[in-house]
Symmetry: C2
Subunit: 221 residues, 2 copies
């Protein structure tokens, strides 16, 4: 698998699914989507482990959203929604990511019918863990995501709760735009999102069969 | 300047400004923005000259938007809005682009407060011209953009009509996200946008001082 550095240097697209866990939809008072919907984050938002803290822009209410990330290993186009094998073959590995969101900016964009790119796209708004080998997550629909702030657990749920599973996600994305090698797909966040402020320490982790697979410590300055 | 092929292979971000010409805002019944706003197109949407036609997805009302594109030559962060020299120094060259838009998908996204990424992001939704050397456009705020469909001129306006000029655009973008070498910035479209259907031929061009800049021809079948 490619290194983190080459991922940072070569990733050309970060596609994120919104509203993919029922309880998270409720907490934001959002409508349950009939089909997956997606938005782009710019690769310039990527923050590697030990690259420093997430930076809170002035006037921004910054929320964390812990998510399982897929690293694409090949070009995928027009994938069939039931082609589970095709979807799994196209995944090169995983990572844990926090889809940082300027919630007040996003709320205003939603009200005005404007794009989400700014709310989702600030520099450092995509802290990621080390790369996770594919073999470490035998079933990406059975992994446990958690995130704590200052030692308090805020998010803790299993990926089995996804409304739209990964083959359907990759199908819907790839029928709009080709996924390319090195692209990252974020698969949505479970309930428990909330704000962080300067000085907070976020920790996020992923467990498979009760065993810690990867732990990412992310500080907010 | 880099080649088109290396731009296609290495471009990591396409940032587009919305509502940057007053008459275009009127024609879409949009609100005039107090500050520039932006959205991302994925690099996978890029369509080089002679790479074939723009493909209309089923059920999509596809609109053209001709725009002057900037190719960034260096990393820019937190540019001051009045730093005209800094802005111009950061530009490596130009291109002409058509920001193809799934207007019905975008209208629905606006109504529902959803992201624009799908409406703007289909494969082939970013046809571009050959690269235009910086020296060919001495003043990017005085260039004439035009677009015709089946020989009928639909858009024809000067870039002097931009509401927010390029230094302000690069400032506002780079205070949210770093612009990196090879990134493309689309500077907005003048009035006259409209639909194209399968079989239509779009031509677009750019004139400086009444002279056609040869490299800026786009033909789409
Ligand atoms: Mg968007
Ligand atoms: Mg998210
Ligand atoms: Mg446009």
């Amino acid at each position: 698998m490619a290194s983190l550095q080459s991922l940072r240097a070569n990733c050309r697209k970060v596609m994120c699914i919104g509203r993919n866990y029922a309880d998270h939809i409720k907490e934001l008072n959002s409508a349950k989507p009939k089909q997956p919907f997606f938005f782009l984050k710019p690769p310039s938002a990527l923050l590697l482990p030990d690259q420093g803290p997430v930076l809170r822009p002035r006037g921004v209410t910054m929320h964390y959203e812990v998510e399982l990330g897929l690293i694409m290993g090949k070009t995928v186009k027009d994938l069939h929604p039931e082609d589970t094998e095709g979807a799994m073959d196209a995944i090169e590995g995983y990572l844990l990511a926090i889809d940082m969101t300027a919630r007040n900016v996003q709320d205003e964009a939603k009200r005005k019918g404007l794009p989400w790119s700014i709310a989702k796209g600030f520099d450092t708004f995509l802290p990621i863990s080390n790369l996770i080998a594919k073999s470490k997550i035998p079933n990406p629909h059975n992994a446990h995501l958690w995130l704590s702030v200052n030692g308090q657990v805020k998010q803790s749920d299993n990926t089995e709760l996804m409304l739209f599973r990964i083959p359907r996600q990759l199908s819907d994305i790839s029928r709009v735009m080709s996924l390319e090698k090195g692209d990252i797909v974020l698969t949505g966040t479970p309930k428990g999102v909330g704000p962080v402020v300067t000085g907070d320490v976020m920790k996020a982790g992923l467990k498979v069969d009760g065993k810690d697979i990867e732990e990412a410590n992310i500080e907010v300055l």
